[in-house]
């Protein structure tokens, strides 16, 4: 059974009569790491929000874990990470990670045990009692990831989670994210602006084009895991980056799926 099934989803915004997404079909198998990449206005964030039932589609359906997206959200089937960490200033790192667990009604001991596991996972054990503003941007985003994963959701939605970080921090967090993903085996939908980030992390890269937002092509990333620093220097890595880049360059032209396939 697929974890996410997007079935001919279209989204038009009444204001300005903009077609953000047109006829999107996408299916994610369990354990996949899928990146959505495209220029601004291609609707990649909108698609992520529709999967998370934060924005309703104008037509079409989204199924998560075999349930309608609304029910999946109410059941807490996914964790989400935004571009900003969105941590609560008045809570310590531990309490921020515990937030979704409180919502789920976990008792104190169970919360404490899980928070400690998560702190180990994102390597922030020494910062449990710090407040968010005492952490660097990269550390804040790690707390945000720990919070999203704390209740072990089957699906992790990430909306440009490392977009606000510097290149070096970003590459380190990419490695960390992959090791977490390999450990937990969750399915990830990852929105990004960075081609190399998308290729490095993903099992598949979904390239989108704007006006109206469409899937221009899907690039399977056939590089082995675990991926390391050397992966970025592999000739195959450059080939795949080039493939994605060429698909992106065709933006604005209305590609038919066959044309897109030729490009690959």
């Amino acid at each position: 059974m697929s974890v996410v099934k997007v079935d001919s989803v279209t989204k038009t915004f009444a204001r300005g009569n903009v077609t953000a997404l047109e006829n999107i079909d996408l299916e994610l198998e369990p354990g996949e790491f899928v990146s959505l990449i495209g220029p601004s206005g291609c609707g990649k964030s909108t698609l992520l929000r529709i999967i998370g039932d934060l924005t309703p589609p104008s037509s079409g359906t989204v199924t998560v874990n075999g349930k309608p997206a609304r029910q999946a959200r109410n059941d807490g089937d996914y964790g989400i990470v935004f571009q900003d960490s969105v941590l609560f200033d008045w809570r310590t790192v531990s309490k921020n990670i515990a937030l979704p667990l409180e919502m789920l009604g976990w008792d104190r001991d169970r919360r404490k045990a899980r928070v400690e596991e998560m702190l180990d996972l994102v390597e922030l054990r020494g910062f449990a009692d710090h407040h968010p503003w005492q952490l660097s941007g990269g550390m804040q985003q790690r707390v945000s990831i720990a919070r999203a994963l704390a209740f072990e959701p089957a699906l992790l939605l990430m909306d440009e989670p490392f977009g606000a970080l510097d290149e070096m921090t970003r590459e380190r967090l990419n490695l960390e994210l992959l090791s977490i993903w390999e450990k937990l085996g969750s399915t990830v939908v990852f929105v990004t602006h960075s081609i190399s980030e998308a290729v490095f992390l993903s099992t598949r890269v979904v390239v989108m084009s704007p006006r109206p937002g469409r899937i221009a092509g899907i690039v399977p990333i056939d590089m082995p895991f675990p991926r390391t620093v050397e992966t970025r220097e592999d000739p195959r890595f450059f080939e795949l980056v080039t493939k994605v880049r060429e698909l992106l360059r065709k933006r604005g032209e209305h590609l038919l799926p066959e044309e897109a396939a030729e490009l690959l």
Partner: protein
Amino acid sequence: MLRRVFTVAAAVLALIGFWELYRWIWTTTGWTWPFVVDDTSMPHVWTIFKAFGQPTQVNQPALITILFHKSLFTGKEALVGFAVGAVVGFAIGIALAHSRLLQRGFLPYIVASQTIPILAIAPMVVVWVNPKLPGPLQGWGAVAVIASYLTFFPVTINTLRGLRSADPRALELMRTYAASRWTVLWKLRVPASLPYVFAALKLAATASVVGAIIGELPSGLQDGLGGAIINFNQYYSFEPQELWATNVVAAALGILFFLAVVGAERIVVRRAPENVA
């Protein structure tokens, strides 16, 4: 901390210095603009402070003792008024934040309530409230209600604003947890509103003291600072230092209230230093 104490002491000394210098220049030059400076309009600072140690009438305790007891009385009224105003103001803020309809219907009246001078309302409050109060609250209870009338307003307005200040993405995060309205209120909106609420509480703290003093006037209460001010007003041309001394005590009481709120804020609001109002 020591540095802080030093700064405050320096500021007080500078103020005293300015007072005396102004006095000295105006009396030696004989300037009369904007007002004639003499021992009645501007008594010496030391005259004012000397007045604290002297009884106002024979066989009475020193002025400072009398003012101390009176400020306890006014402080009690102000404290209860502040607490009632803060709680009611916060509750109204929460109610209005949750209903556009309530907000549109009631906010204009809440604003209008503050345009009526408190001196005009005070006698009515005394007449209405006093008969309903149990024995121990008689008299000063009505004054506390008048003080709360001044304090609730800033708290309501800032609570309303503060509850809306929650980060939209944080609200979205709560949606992904399928959080109920109540959960969002207690876990997100209220904590997010606290810097705003405390900014209002600081205003309310000083306003409650002013409200208590003014409330005492139409109540005919002699036990508080308001009564003392009315009393010393009548003797101002003979003994201005007594009214000035009372003003100093009233100001000190207001500052004490203010500092208490600042202290509470330090404990309650855990926020990045730059985000503390």
